[in-house]
Each structure stands twice: as C-alpha cells, then as structure tokens.
Symmetry: C3
Subunit: 669 residues, 3 copies
C-alpha cells in the first residue's frame, strides 16, 4: 500500500479522474505546441506527464541548464488549465553523459557493454549516474517545485525495463557491499545460504563474489536470488533518492513512478508501492491475443491491490497499436474506450496515454497516440475526444474504491523469480502463467478478486504457485486457515526457502503440516501431455504422487498418467491442495465451487464470459456499477440504477450493447 | 546503367557469348592445370575469371611478390585461346596482413572482432587494408595490364557479402567524416534528420556519434539509414579505387565486379551499375524451392535493368548443388542448361560458373563445378560440354538486347532498408518479399517486365512497396502519372522520408495528392491472417482504413477484417492504390487486368506457368525468340522462325519438349 | 581396450557387482552422514565415489589442506565395509584458484571468457590449472593411496563436457606446439593438409595459426579437425598426468574416469579406453523419448566395446528424473531396476547412481538420487533397496563377459566429427544419427552387436557412415572383406581423408575398389523427403547416382526421386553399398537379411521389440541369460535354466512379466 501522510498526501492537487497523456513537446515546434494545447482542451485533457525524456533538453551539456523550453510549455499548459505531472528525466541520460562516463553503461551477463543511443543506457549502481541524476532532479525540483501547474511528480520511467540487471564492475562492487550488509559481513553465512558446498564453489574472500555472469554451467540459485533482490533494491534506491529530493522542493505534490505491474518481471512492486504517494502503472495489450481483454482486468486488479485498494492511476496505455510486437494490430473502434473504462471500473482514478502526439521519427513513431500522424480528423482523435467527455462525466467517482473482493490471489515475486531459474523438474511450470491462468478463469466466470502478497482477510485465498517461501510465510498461511480462511494451494508449492534450498523432510516442505499430506515424487508431464481426473477435470504440465495424512480427504483422483489412481485434489478442513495444474476449462468449474464453499458472493447476474461487472463505492454510501461488454453481442446484466450518461433508470436489469460500457449510479441499497 | 565511353568501352575485347568459370589454379598442380586447359577447350570455354582469391599466391609476404604461377597459367590459357577476366585478389587479404593489422578485421555490432581465416575478413574503412589492396592491385595491373589474354578485369568479389557493415573504431571515424561531409559539418542538421529529440538522444559533439552498436533498446532509424548508406559508400569507394588503378594500367579492357543482384541486400546497385563497364552478377538458386525457376527470371530481369537494358554477364552460377544451404539439392539433368539459357534469353551475353574444377578441400569443396571431383566422365561435365556447344551456337545474339518491357517494377534500395528496420507496424511486411511476389506473379502469367529505380517510359509502373521516399521521388511519380503512365502502388507506401521520418499530414504522406486518398489508420493482420475483397481477391498481412478523395473511385472493398466494407483497391485516373497485399492467386488475376488497362502487350501465346518466352533483338532488325520450358510437359508456343539448332522452320507455333529450350531466328516481322 | 597389467590390475580390489553412488558428504552435517552409512548398508551399497567436487573442501585456500572431513568420512565408510572410489577433485577448481588465475578460465569461439562459479571452469591447456591439479592430486594420493577403504580412483569427472574446446591464448599456444610436433615443424605440410590454397589462407608464420575463432565465413575444415584432435588430446593429457600421480602413490588400485560414451561427442574414447584400468561411463536417458529403452542398450554396447568386451562399470545413472532437460520426467516404478539390469546384462560389473543423497540446494538439487529429499520412506529408496538386494544376488556373474556378437557397428569418432562440420551436401546427414538408427533397428529385431573402431573378426560389419577415413582404414576394410567378412557400407562413405580433403578420383574415393562402383553425383533430398526402392524399402535424406562396375550386382533400385531407376543397394561379393539411408522400418527388414547372409546367429526366440535377451558367460562355462521386458505385456522367451531369484527351473521357455527382468542360470549346453 502506498505510503501517504499529511506531508505527502496521496493525490494532493491532482484533479480526478485524470485524463491525458505523456507529452513530449521537445519533439515539436512552437506552432504545433499551441495546437497541442488547443486539442488537449478539446479532448478534455486535464493532466499531462511532461519531460520524461527531456534530460538533454534541459541540460544540453554538463552543468549547462536551459529551462526556457520547459518554462514556456508549462506556462502554456497552465494558461489552459492543464495540470502537469512533471517527470525527472533520468531514464535517459544524455549522450554527453554516456560519452564522458562509459563505465556507467550497462554490461550484459556475457560481458558486453551496451552502447548509448537508447533509453535506460545506465547501470543503476553507477556512482556517476546517481550523482548526475540527483543533480538534474534537484535543479528541476528547485525550479518547478512551487509551480501551480505542477500537481504531481513522475520519477524516471519504467524502472528496470531494459536495464533490470547489470553485470558491470560497479554493479559487482555494489553487490558485494549489499551482500556484506545482508549477511553481517560473514562469508560463512553467505556460503550457507547459497549452498556453495555443491561443486565446491565456496567463497573464501569477498572479492571472489561477482554477479552471475555467463559461465560453463549452472550457478548457485542462491546467488541468482540475491542478485535479483540486489538489482531490484538498486533501482528502488535510485527512485528513493530522486523522490526525496523532489519532496524537499515540492511540498504537497504527489510523487509516483510508473510501474509495469502487469508484466510480472523484476520489480517487487509490493515493496515499491510503499514508497510512492500514488500507485501508477503502464499497461499494454498483446495485440494478437484474442483474449486480451482479460489482461486488462488482471493488470488493473494487481495495480489496485498494490495500491492497497485505494485509487490508482493508469499512467500509460495506448490509444491503438504499439510498435514493439511482431505484428502490432490496431485497436478496434471502441476498444480504447472500453479499455479505459475497464481500468476506471477496477479502481483507477485516471487514465493517461502514451503519448499525446504520435512522434514523427524515432523508434516509437509507430506507437499510436491521442493525436495520430493524421491529426485531428482521424478515428483515433475523435474517439479520444469522446472518451475525454465520458471520463469527465465520471467526476463523481473520484476517490471511491472497489470494495474488497471475497477472493484473493497470492503473488510472491521472489517465489516467481525462484521458479524462473533453470534446472527445475519442468521448465513449463512458471508462476506467472499460473497466476494469469487462474485470474483469467475467475474473470471468465465473473468472480472478482484482489491480489495479495500475504494472507489477509479474504474468504478464499488462491495460491496457484508458491514454490519458494520462508517458514514465516508458511506460518502465516497456517494462521489464515486456522482462523477459518479457505485456501487452495497449487502444485509444487511449499518446496524451497527464499534461497532456493529445499525445505528439509518430505515435500511439500514448509506446507506439509498445513496441507496434511506428503508428496512422494513430483511427476512432470511430457510436452503437451495432460492427465485426467475422476471429476472430469483435466490436469496440465504436472502430476504428483501424493500420500494423504489421516484426516485429509481425497476429493478427486487421477484416472491416468504417472500418478494414476492417486489423489489429485485433497482437502483438509478449509484447505485444498492440487497435485496438478487444472486446465482452463476445469478451472472454470472448480473455482466457482471453491468460492461457493468459502461463502463468497456469487457473480452478478449476467457477469462473466467477456462481460465485466464491477462496483465502486464512496464512503458516503454512493455506488456505481460498471458493466463492460467486451463481446460482440448485447449483454443483459442484473443492475438497478440510473445510467450515468443517458439518465435512463433501470430496475433489475440493464442491457449493454455489444462492445459498450454502462455506468449506473446505483439506487442506495 | 553502366558508364561506358570510348576510353572505357563496355565489352571491349570480350568474345561473346562468354562461357567459362572461375578458375583457381593455385589449388592444383601443373599436370592438372594442363588437363584443365584441355578440358576447357573441349567444353568450349572462352573466358575464365582468374585470381579471385590469389592474394597470398602472388604476394606471399608483405612486399614480396611472386608472379611466376600466374605468369605460367595466363600463358597456358593464352596459348589455348582462352581469354582471362583477371581479378584483383582483394576480397581475401592474406593471413600475414590480418596478423600484422588486427585492427583491420571486421567488428560486429556487439563488439566482437571477427578472426581471420576466411574471406572478406576486412573492414572496408581500414586504412591499412585500403593501402595494401591498392598496392597489390597496382602491381597486378602493371604486370598484366597489356597482356593480350587479359580482356577484362574483375575487381574484388561479391562486395559486402560477409562484411557489409563494420562497427570497428576505424569505421566509426570514417562514419563521422562521412556524416560531417553529408551534413555540412553541422550537428544540428544531423540531430534534425535523425530525430534525436526522441528520448533526448541529441548529439552535442561529433565524438558522441558512433555506428549503431548493440544497445539497451531501439536506436535512431536515421542513424541506421545513414549507417547503411555510409557502409555501401565505403565498399563502393574501395571498388572505385581499384578500378581506377586498373584503368590506368590496362586501357581498353572492361572492368566489372560481380554483384549479388538477386539477393536484394546492402548494396544499392543502381549506384554501383554506373561505375562498371559491364554489369555482372552472381546467381544461386535456393535448391529446395520448387518454384526456383521464377527466381532466375527475377535475378536476370534485375541485372539487365541495372545494365540499362544493355547486355550483361552472369558471372557465377552453379552447375549443380551448392554447399551453403541446409540441404543442397543437385540440379536435375538439363537444369543447368535451362538455367543458363534463361539468363541468355533475358539479355546476358555470357554465363560463367563458379567454378571450373571442384575444390578437393576447404569450405567450398561441396560446391559443384564444371569438372566435378569425379572428373570428365560425369553427368555434369558432359552437360557442361554440350552446353558450351549450345552457347557457341548463339554467337549471333551477342550485343542484341531485350526490348524494353511495357511493365516496370520499382525497386528502391533505401526504401527496402527502411522497411527492414525494427519497430514497424508489422515485421511481416518486407519490401523484398513484395517485389519477388509481384515479379513471380508476372512471370507466372507470362508478362515481361523491367525493374527501375524511378519512373520512366513504361506503360505500367508497379510499386509494390515504397515505404520511404523523398518528395522528389513523389514528384517524379506524379509526373509519370501526369504524362499518362499507369501506376499501381502497394500498401504502406509514401509514408516516410529517407531519414525514416514520417511525412507530415495524413497518410500516405508524400503520395497523398497523387493517390487521392487518405489512410485513417494502418491495420496489420495477425500472423497468418487474411482478408477478403469483394472482387474475390484475398489480401495478406495488412489492411488499411482508407478515405477516398472526391474523384477517387473505389474499385473493390474489403468484405471482412479490420477494414471491413472499406476500400481495398482505389483508382484515380491511371493510378491505383492497394490497401492490402494481394495473395499470389489474386495477383495472377489482377496484374493482367492492370496490364490490359495500361495497353500493355499481352503475353505470347503459350507463355506463362513455367513456360518463358522472351525475345532479343539486334539493331539491324534480326530477332531471336527464346522459349524455355521449365515444366515436365511439352509446351506449345506461338512462334514463327527457324530453330537455331535444328534448322527446322516453324510457322505460327513451336512445340518445346518438357524441360527443353528452343531458340528461333525469327522471320523479320 | 583398457590397458591392464600386473602393476595395474583391471578391477583390483573392487567387489563386484559394484552397487552404490556418488557421495558428496561435504553437503551434509555429521548426523546426516551417519544416517547415510546406515542407509547405504540397508540398500546394499558396497562402493561410493567420493570427493568428485571436493577440491575446495580439502584445499580451502592455496596450499592450505584440510583432510579432516574426508578422513572422517572415509573412516566411517570403512567401518561399515563400504569401499571408496576416490575422486581427484579437479573437475571443479575452487574459486580462490579461478580468482587468482583468470587466465585459466575457458574462452568461447567468439572471445568471451566464461566466469567461474560452476564446474569445469578451466582450460585444459592452462599451465596454472595443470600445476594446481597435479598438486591436489598428489596430496590426495599420498594421503589415501594406501587406505584399505580406497579400492579405486576416479580421475576428474566427465572430461570435456562443458569445456570441450577452449579458444584462449594458452590454448592457442598449446595448439601451435601440438601442430609443430604433428607436422614436424613444417608449415608447408600444415598448409597442404589444411588446404589453405583455398581463398589464399596460407600460413607463412606459425604465429598466424590460431584456434578456429568466429570469423566472417567458413574456416579450413582441416583446421577444425586438428583443433578437435588437439582438444581431445589436451584433456587426455590432463587425465594421464593425474593417473600417473595416483598410480605412484596407490599401487594395486584401479584407475578410471567416467566417460559419457552414449553421448557421442568430442572424446575419442577408443583412445581413452586404452588409458584406464576399468572402463566406466555415465548414462542418462532423454526422459521424454518413448523409445528411450533402446538407448540403454546402445550406450551399454558401446561401453562394453570400449572395454574390449571385458566387464565395465556404469559409473552414473539416475534413480529417477534428471534436472537438465526441458521437462524431466520421473522414471516409472520398476524402470530404475530394469535400466540397471539392462546394463548388467550387457556386461557391466557394477552400477552406481549420481548421487547417493539428493542435494538440498544448488543446480543439481532436482536431480534424483538414491535417498530423495523425502528420505527413506519413499518409492525411490524402497526400489533402490530392493535393487541392491537384486544386484547382490548376481554376485556370481562378476567377471563373466558377453560373448562377442556376430555383428559389429563401426564407430570412427574422427569421421563423425568431419561430418559434423558445416558446408556439407546435407546438414541432415549426421554420423551419430546413423549409428543410433542402425543400433536401434538391431535392438528392435533382437540382434546383438558390438561396436568397433576398425574391422575385426565379426561376421557382419556394418558401416552406417564413414565419410572421412585414411587409406589405411580403407585397406583394413578391403582386408576384412578379402578374408570373407560381410560388410554393409552406408551412403556418403569413403569420401574424404582425415583432413577432410576429398580422396582423388570418382566417389567413393578410398572405397571405390572395395565397393566396385562409382558415384556420379550425391543427391541429397529436400527436408522430409523420401525415396522408394523396388524391394519396398524407403530411403531417407539422401540418394546417389551410382554406376556399378562389372561384377557388382544391383540388388535393388530407386523407384523415384533424383536417382530414379538407378541402383540403391549394390553387392560385390560379401560387400554391400547403400546409396540412401534406409528408414527404420526398412532397416528392420534389411538387417536380418544381411545377418542371415553373413551366417549370424538368429535372435533368441521371443527377443526383440522391447524384449532384450542377452547372455553372459564365465570362463568355466557357466552362463546366465538375462531377459529384460521393457514392454507392458508379458513376454515369452526361449530359455532353459534356473531362475536366479525364484529358483524355478524353466525348460525351453520362460515368461517374463511386463516390465520385469528374468535372470536364468543356464543349463550347460
């Protein structure tokens, strides 16, 4: 949950719902900028993110600052009543910097120094980078900290995207320092945690410790895990340093950085979320995925959960196509609005696009924008304008929240990283896939859910994959079950500790007592293989030979495969264990059963299978029902209230046209 | 078109049709060389390319020259009346050179220096390489410039094949020099052209400019485009330097270098063609392609076009298999002769093989040759001998030309490179594929065509793909249409300028006025997707939402897909625009329609679908009709004349046996 | 055949059949080690391989030795009567060594130095490595050479697995020295052997010679061949140096190193086998291969053949899953025992697992072991215990051997390497595939075979692929045929010499006279293509246009494809030549025919198609029949004798249950 207090109010001066885009005026001449502001007003834009890649614009040479362009643009925006989310430009150091400090460039695992010329061409541990980033941030904050147009700060951009990990000498030094702190300067502890007794890879001197470079074979998984943690910590340190400078000079303004939450990569956003005032995130669809609408909900639910259920901001998405996929399909008419409203429906208090005006050159010129190359007389700008109007009509929802779901999905980043390492029973069994699969199934059947880093108060806690965990986490799960929480744990969970050392004793290690069973052997399936279950379900990728403890009930058994006749789903009290990964079609049947057992509320009538129904509620009791119809057919949804746009009152049911969205102000219940 | 004047006559002393091969006598002992000459005479060889990889043979150590071997071989050939196309050996610097000048070795984009031991192990910008290449060229030209056997010079070999681009320090220096010249030493101009405002990648000092090395993300497309141009220019500079030395010492001899025209890669051969006396090219089939015969015609048409319609030379092809494909299928009996005659039919005045005698060792020993490992008592040598006889019988065609076609395909190398860059709407949409597809369709329906770098006098100009173009090119297309030329422009054309900056205003930018339409949005298709058109056609890869201007006729509409019901083919006057890439089967129907509208001559009766019918004409009115039957069935072709080989007269029709070729001296029309 | 004499007896003090595992006590605490010994006794373990990766355990810093742990463990084992196969730990130099000697790390072909942190992170030519490896070996041998528990030495581990070839500067120096020795310090000889006349890549100074680094194009195949030989020789030198130290200090103990025979990679084990006292090898199944049982027999037959037919040792296999395949399927119940007994049935006098107790951490923790993570109450440990009992029951077979087979498959490592090089007629045509295909077909029809490096006394010698060979080898094949041996030679054999230079004259070069035919042209097939033969067979990958000499009989002809109507199988006396690679189904028919012609004994009744029947015989006339049923159905096998386990006597036939193994003490015949 984001840290917010009187000194650092969450949303501060930001008008909501925020609507706008990244704005890169340094790419355009003065006339175009004037036109930009005119069109922004026309489109209902009330917030733009400014200066994300402007370092060389404002500091064209070392210690030579030129704020004239930025001054002018901020004034122009301010005159037109458009607020500014001002970015520190530190995601893209200028070429003069990289040229003067080649040692600041990222180095790959096999020792190649990456050249400058693109963004994120820096190592987060580079002292020179950190020094210059602090300086430009300070100068920027000093100059604009009090500016009335500046309502919000945007630190850097998509941390750890292209430079998540660096293998340079400075990284190695910083890694050693980080490890010495972590392990109390005791190399024996490190050797123990990393299991260096294997292959005799014991460290006898700190100088021998280096990041996990390309080698003749496998390296210690513990080394990898700590390198992942260290790298994440280095980026977060960079963020904190800039944030603190900004806060000093710009009181009362909200600070954020744009996560890439839906991508499930190398940042443990549960930790990041505590450091920002507003949780914001970028979201891009895989345009060739026919089920891509489900990914909107996943990313939104995750971001809302990172925000502790409080309003969050969609910092970037696209009006239509992107340019970095093999084939970049355009969004269909109406899809942009549907996407945007899906995010608002799931708790966003604003939605911005990357970017305002489509670049005419450079690597992102084929990324769509609010103003396409073709200008205002285009489908996209017309839709953006209409959407601006729609969003403005939703002003009342600002600050309202989605009520906590009955169901939660557990996401543990470190467990995800651990399962990503090589030399596993099956490379097919990833944590991210399991999370997405389960969320997509919940979405398909219309059951709302949150994501959580640890057990909380939800009725049903789903743990699709938790390969690595501490014993403390295991205790927390036991406590959750002990206080009546319903729990479903996926296969190959409970196995290893956070250093990827197998918990002693029979599987599933740390979860053995909770689950009331032993796994005799993990039994990965061959490529494409499946197993049958005697309740008609199908399992994918994996099976296990499970031996239930007395008192553990076998709910269903394998009908074939390597664990034939053995238990496939087991229950002990309110806790279930799955010895396989259910296929999507099976999850569609199992999840509602488990939800019903746990006493979760059923889906709203008509919800599911592409029709999303969600609710936002205000502290004063008002509530809004959002019904998003991603399908090509009209949808009938159980709802009572007044349509926010048409003013039509519905009692009991509303029909949402194909591809459309309805927002109802609900009759107080 | 090749530059040719009195001082540098195009074909000079070369006897035509030339027939022969690359000859590498340094691989063989004296007895074998004598046998070689005997067999060459038997096979009707009248020209051999000598010394292509002979640098270390003639200069075994620095400044130590030994011409005894070459003297002997040239004398031997001369005695037997076999002319020599003498090569400068600069494609393969000796190991003593590479060892003394490791800085001359090519460096990859990620900074790896490639080791010596193979050919083309040099950077074209290396001062040391250029100096030594000039020296060996001068010594060679001084020694053999006046030799009566030497009728032609062959500079280097397949420029830019393995070393097209180099990222070494010398390349970086030369690149900066080239850019300073190109941009008048004005870094602001460079920043503007490369669009460095994006991501703040502005250059503030020339030293910051480096070739596009591997980096964290995308680099400026303008940087890439200039690097492509620079690299091509460097190779061309190398060529010019050697050519000029040769011309000084060997007056009256033709100079060439062997292009790889059909491969459509990194050399803008329109520029190269102006620098040679004879345009020559290598051509190799993809042996597993069942439609490989069509590629012969494409390469031949392109090479003839590069020669401005004048006779050209097939410098290398194979008698049977090559050795560098995954599986190297042998040519079927008769295929070598059919290949050769296809090239002659399309304007070649000679055809040489790589190589004369198959190497017994080294990386090319499994590349077929005129004399196989098995010697003269082999299918291949027997066929080579018979073919020599056939070619000799075609002596009269020397100097005749193929009449200009009614149809031209526009090939713009820079537009091809631009579409090759990453971060496009669809990586599937390449320029080379479009060109080959359209040419293959023309070939299939029997319609002859030329290739052109710019609009000329053809009745029908086909522009399958022209993503990037200058406004001058756009004006040239407008002029062409204005003077009545028929034009068909493929999708995603007219969009960007030569620096890959999008032309301002609605798509298709520079071609908007000419085409009389706007494209609202580009709509790439998912992998493998197609769209239907209401004339029964099928579109591939791509669609567009097109808005016709008044006066622009919609000839056909999409029946499904992302542009459903929108225009798919539009016509304004004599100009057509396609909003998709037609499938091969659709092109087979559309191209003849467009040709008919433009008043192009219909195919000769019986031509098409594997039966090629082409004509060569002499200034004195004589003409020869070539009918090549690539199929497995006899073909009847409308033709009147006397069979050059059998002397049989045909009136109205000739039957060409399966797999055979007929050449008729036509009755004057 | 392994070198063995009075001073170095083959099996020395090793109790047989050996049963046990690699044991890595440095990963476990004292209590666990005590438990280990208890469980080893329970499981019938009589031999453990100790200390394979213990370098940093026994030499935690340079010249600082600490043998206390090893002392204790060896004592513990000795007390319990478990013998030790003591390993030199040189496969995994400690980090203190790599850190002090970064120049000892392996370098890749493209110049990247591999980082330390894994095993085999050393260059075998590194002087520093060799010095330190010799020192630790000497100290170990001095200390334990006389220890009564130590019955055997295990040098290093899986030589050349991850560091088969190294391109570092020390390797380059050593390569040059090796070449100078090989070529009598005469660079002209090297130039001749490597065919450097091609592309003018002549060496004029030894300094120009470097290992085959990544370059612009193909390098001399002769360079590659010598680099392969050199690299193998360097590893073998490392082995010899350690072995000789061990022999000095540990008389009467057997010395081995664990081959990876079944993998057919970069070690010419025919040469290695002469250097060891006991031939031992590791074998791992590809767990997703449904026909994986056949690979057991291949590896076992090869290892037995390397041992010259004498007993050998399976040094490593797995109790269940491994961890390095994409998906690591567990072995089915019973499969471990069946695997083990298959090896014993084919001549092994022992079978050890990697490893005793499954690691709790590190890259191999998901590799199964005798004691799984779950401890003794697991399927795997129960089966391991039962298997120990079974193996103990086979004590009488120790020292017995499999009688020589009537059929031999020729394996020439250098010919395999030569066919692995690029720039061949078809990349599909590998030597290893042919060997495995033919062996699998023999296995399927129940015909036993040996592997040989050269013709011997077998009735039928199969040569599936022998692309490169010396004329001496060709003479040996002629001699074999001349003395009545039956011979079948696969396509593309006889072609090149050991430097990959094509033998002069028509194909098949060195085998032309023996086979009595000429090949006019090699005719590779397109991907997935096949050809028909008029005996109903199908050919894959390849065809040839063959011209038989007078007296050579055409047994069968192609019915289609590029050699249609030409000879496909030819016979001259007792020698056959195949102009294609027969499909598996065709081999199943052809091999028994050829075997019958050669007078080979037919398969035992019931053998084949997953039912293996093999025999071991003792010098005193006793014999044992092993019947391994890999299928899911009971198998009836012709056999007479007493079941070793049940004591039941069978006369004429025995029924082996599905998945089971029967061992019969045969009635003297």
């Amino acid at each position: 949950m984001p840290r917010s207090d009187r000194a650092h109010p969450a949303w501060g001066r930001v008008r909501r719902p925020a609507y706008g885009a990244d704005y890169n005026p340094e790419q355009w001449d003065r006339a175009t900028r004037k036109d930009d502001v005119r069109l922004m007003r026309e489109a209902g834009v009330n917030l733009v993110t400014l200066g994300v890649f402007a370092w060389s614009w404002i500091e064209p040479g070392p210690d030579t600052f030129d704020f004239s362009g930025l001054d002018e643009v901020i004034a122009l925006l301010h005159e037109s009543g458009i607020a500014v989310d001002l970015a520190t430009p530190t995601a893209a150091p200028p070429l003069w910097f990289s040229h003067a400090h080649p040692e600041s460039l990222p180095v790959t695992a096999d020792g190649r120094t990456l050249a400058p010329g693109s963004r994120q061409a820096y190592c987060p541990s580079s002292p020179a980078y950190r020094e210059r980033a602090a300086l430009v941030t300070r100068r920027l904050a000093e100059r604009y900290g009090d500016h009335p147009a500046v309502v919000m700060w945007h630190i850097n951009n998509e941390y750890a995207n292209a430079n998540a990990h660096c293998w340079c000498a400075a990284s190695a030094d910083a890694f050693r320092d980080w490890l010495r702190t972590r392990y109390g300067d005791d190399l024996d502890v490190l050797n123990d945690r990393w299991g260096t007794a294997v292959w005799g890879m014991r460290y006898s001197d700190w100088d021998q410790v280096v990041p996990p470079r390309t080698s003749t074979g496998g390296l210690s998984p513990g080394l990898w895990m700590d390198f992942y943690r260290f790298s994440d910590a280095e980026h977060l340190d960079c963020f904190r340093a800039e944030r603190d400078i900004v806060r000093t000079h710009s009181p009362g303004r909200s600070v954020t950085t744009n996560f890439m939450a839906g991508a499930l990569r190398w940042s443990d956003y549960w930790r990041w979320a505590r450091e920002v005032d507003i949780v914001s995130s970028d979201h891009y669809l895989m345009s060739e995925d026919p089920d891509r609408a489900a990914d909107l909900a996943f990313a939104a639910d995750l971001t809302r959960s990172l925000a502790g259920g409080q309003p969050w901001m969609l910092m970037e998405h696209s009006t239509s196509a992107v340019q970095w996929q093999p084939r970049n399909l355009a969004k269909a008419p109406g899809e942009m609005a549907r996407n945007t409203l899906t995010h608002l429906a799931r708790g966003a208090d604003g939605a911005l696009f990357f970017q305002w005006r489509q670049s005419a050159y450079g690597p992102e010129k084929w990324h769509s924008a609010m103003v396409p190359h073709g200008g205002e007389d285009t489908r996209i700008f017309r839709e953006a304008k209409a959407l601006g109007n729609t969003v403005a009509g939703l002003a009342d929802i600002a600050g309202s929240t989605c009520p906590p779901a009955d169901i939660a999905l557990l996401l543990d980043y470190e467990a995800m990283w651990a399962l990503h390492l090589p030399h596993r029973p099956s490379g097919d069994l990833t944590c991210g896939d399991a999370l997405r699969d389960w969320h997509r199934a919940l979405w398909t059947v219309g059951l709302p859910c949150d994501l959580v880093p640890a057990p909380g108060e939800h009725r049903l806690l789903l743990v699709p994959s938790l390969y690595a965990l501490s014993t403390a986490t295991a205790r927390a799960l036991e406590d959750y079950a002990a206080r009546g929480g319903h729990l479903v744990v996926g296969p190959f969970s409970g196995v290893a500790d956070p250093h990827d050392r197998v918990h002693p004793g029979p599987y599933p290690g740390a979860l053995r007592d909770l689950l009331g069973l032993r796994v005799d052997e993990y039994l990965p399936l061959a490529a494409g293989g499946t197993v049958g279950l005697d309740d008609g379900s199908t399992g994918r990728l994996w099976a296990e030979r499970v031996l239930p403890d007395p008192g553990t009930e076998v709910e269903c058994r394998f009908t074939d495969g390597p664990a034939e006749a053995g238990p496939a789903i087991l229950r002990r009290g309110t806790t279930r264990y799955l010895a396989t990964r259910p296929a999507h079609s099976s999850l569609l049947r199992l999840l509602p059963q488990w939800a019903a057992h746990a006493g979760c509320a059923p889906p709203v009538g008509g919800a599911g299978h592409g029709v999303e129904v969600t609710r936002r509620t205000a502290p004063d009791g008002r509530s809004w029902l959002f019904a998003v119809n991603h399908t090509g057919r009209p949808a009938r949804v159980a709802a009572t209230g007044v349509d926010l746009f048409s003013g039509v009152r519905s009692a009991g049911e509303v029909t949402v046209p194909a591809g459309d969205v309805a927002v109802l102000v609900e009759t107080p219940r």
